[in-house]
Amino acid sequence: MRVVIAEDLFLLRDGLTRMLQAHGLEITAAVDNGADLLAAVAKDQPDVAIVDVRLPPTFTDEGIRAALAARHEAPGLPVLVLSQYVEQLYARELLASGGGGIGYLLKDRVFDSAQFVDAVRRVAAGGTAMDPEVIARLLARNTGNASVGALSPREREVLALMAEGRSNAAIAQRLVITERAVAKHTASIFLKLDLQPSDDDNRRVLAVLAYLEG
């Protein structure tokens, strides 16, 4: 799997490169600004781009804009955005930039390399990887929502993991339950939220996110 990294801090760029290489991913380019990212994406046509939000020259939301621009030039390019903080506003903009292949994670998630690489692979495959903090805030925002309130605690856990973009198998492993039980929970969740059930993992995630943002 071919990866492009855009991260301005040398230590982090270097660490990410080594970690991903250790997990058998190929780093085609590691750049430190948005313009170089666009050039690298055009040249190397990677499977996924990992982008830091703060990049030179403004050190504001350069990375988000670079990611959106890259997806504009190469539609459907999977992009995983890393940030020191997460904002629902940015999550929204990324999700609105076209179906699938979107990840938005806190930089802390890099500490757990297995989980992080899993997220990179998921995004590269066209899936979604939303940071648990984004999801927690989305759920907090929906506390007053009667349909969300009607969910059982276990169903809420499943909903949160599903919204992060995890597959049934991953949810089952995480909650230490069988995949069939997860399927039962998701069916119940979709019924209670009045959503169209779908077998496609990613479409399912997007439906749940759209519902929570609603």
């Binding site: 600004n33 948005g34 313009a35 666009l38 990049l55 020259p57 403004t58 504001t60 939301d61 350069e62 804009r65 670079a66 621009a69 020191q84 903080y85 904002e87 629902q88 506003l89 940015y90 929204r92 806190l106 930089k107 802390d108 500490f111 805030r137 907090a140 925002r141 929906n142 506390t143 007053g144 943002e213």
Partner: protein, 457 residues
């Protein structure tokens, strides 16, 4: 304060008077004339009221002068060698009392009269006049003693300008507002007086018509006259401004210092403590890594989790100091992001073509943040609307909720805090929150917008 219809003087008539539907059959010019007439008659009435005020002021002055004159005369007569000593003492003290007690009292009444005039002139003559008075010494916690009050009243230049106004107004000023009414009365006399010559009748009717026509300008002139004496002098204005700046500067410095102390404490108790613990854990892991690799691994994981917690705390702290979206995108998007994080339906509408300066963005953001916290804590609102725009050199932010209202800045320290913070930028906040709701808060901060930075990527 609602803008009264009489302020539309250049229009000459009132286009949307309440009585218009009553006369739907009349041709348009007639209704227009009736509206015009109603507007002018209102001026006549207001002019009469101004005349009344002028007379009241003059009467007050004359009464004081009369009492003073009589008491002095009585006191002088006490020098009569045949009157006895006690009588003299009594009479002399009478003069003293009149001077000392009645004088300030008259000045206070005069001040009330001037205040009323200022308000009415603002409403009826469309000439806004600010209060020129020095703030009372007890405004910032001083004592309220009689001597301090006296000193405050007597040393304020504005007091003596009030006196000047009441004198001028009582002697001459009233002519301006009374002129329309007077000319109108003259017209009536001209029409109804028996045995008058036709020329004379026409002349008086012409004068009455002129009086009605000129009423708005006469009133405006009266407004300017009042303004020349009742408005703060340049010096008083500057003094008030200096005072305001000194107050808000002190408050801004205090808030800043308190904020820095809070940040220091949070860092000390939070991230710093966690880093110390992490260092110790890593050290422990290093010591046992050869003898007990399993336990060392557990310690390493523990250190990793501690670093995640430290980062989480630092993030929360940064959000409280200067939220990243605010730095990235400016106040409108930051408020949008805030709305997304608040468990309530919030509709944000913004119309900013650029960004205010960073301190103003920050003040506006935290004001809205505080307001939203208030709404979710107290108002039991289902929905909130936020409107952000920049017009006439003002950043205006309206926050309206459909909760149960009854918000009172005098009781809530939060609202007072917002007012204080905005005051550092000459910003103001207005609250309308009738019991039963809705609550509408409007904030205004004077500022210029700078165009957004263009991206180089």
């Amino acid at each position: 304060m609602p803008v009264p219809k009489q302020t539309e003087m250049s229009a000459g008539h009132d286009p949307d008077g309440p009585e218009r539907p009553d006369v739907p059959d009349l041709p348009v010019p007639v209704t227009e004339f009736l509206n015009w007439m109603r507007g002018r008659l209102a001026f006549v009435g207001q002019g009469l009221l101004f005349f009344g005020l002028a007379l009241a002021g003059l009467a007050l002055l004359l009464a004081y002068a009369a009492v003073l004159g009589v008491s002095i005369k009585v006191a002088l007569s006490a020098r009569d060698p045949y009157s006895d000593q006690t009588e003299r003492v009594v009479l002399a003290s009478l003069v003293f009392v009149v001077w000392l007690v009645l004088g300030p009292l008259v000045l206070v009444w005069m001040r009330g009269l001037a205040r009323l005039t200022r308000r009415l002139v603002g409403q009826w003559c469309a000439v806004a006049i600010a209060d020129p008075y020095l703030p009372p010494p007890w405004a910032d916690g001083g004592k309220k003693g009689l001597r301090r009050r006296l000193k405050w009243l007597l040393t304020d230049q504005a007091t003596w300008r009030d006196l000047l106004w009441v004198t001028v107004d009582g002697c001459l000023g009233w002519i301006l507002p009374l002129l329309p009414a007077g000319l109108l009365a003259l017209g009536f006399v001209g029409v109804f007086a028996p045995y008058a010559q036709l020329e004379l009748r026409l002349l008086t009717i012409g004068a009455a018509a002129f009086g009605l026509w000129a009423a708005p300008w006469l009133m405006r002139g009266y407004g300017y006259l009042a303004h020349s004496m009742l408005a703060p002098t340049r010096q008083a204005e500057l003094a008030l401004r200096v005072r305001h700046l000194a107050e808000t500067r002190t408050e801004a410095l205090d808030t800043g210092a308190a904020e820095i102390r809070r940040i220091e404490r949070d860092l000390h108790d939070g991230a710093q403590a966690r880093l110390v613990a992490m260092g110790m854990t890593l050290d422990a892991a290093g010591q046992i890594i050869d003898t007990n690799p399993e336990a060392a691994r557990a310690l390493l994981y523990e250190a990793r989790d501690a670093s995640v917690k430290a980062l989480t705390e630092l993030r929360a702290l940064v959000r409280g100091i200067h939220p990243p979206v605010l730095a990235d995108r400016g106040v409108a998007d930051a408020i949008q992001a805030l709305a997304l994080d608040t468990p309530m339906r919030i509709h944000v509408a913004s119309d900013l073509y650029g960004r205010p300066s960073a301190p103003i963005e920050s003040a506006a953001y935290f004001a809205v943040s505080e307001l939203l916290a208030n709404v979710s804590k107290h108002a039991e609102a289902r929905e909130t609307w936020i409107d952000i725009r920049h017009t006439d050199g003002m950043l205006r932010i309206g926050v309206t909720d459909n909760g149960h209202g009854g918000a009172d800045p005098a009781r809530g320290s939060g609202l007072r805090g917002i007012e204080r913070r905005l005051a550092s930028f000459d910003g103001v906040m207005a609250i309308s929150s009738p019991p039963g709701g809705p609550t509408a808060v409007t904030m205004e901060i004077p500022c210029e917008l700078s165009l957004p930075k263009t991206s180089s990527s």
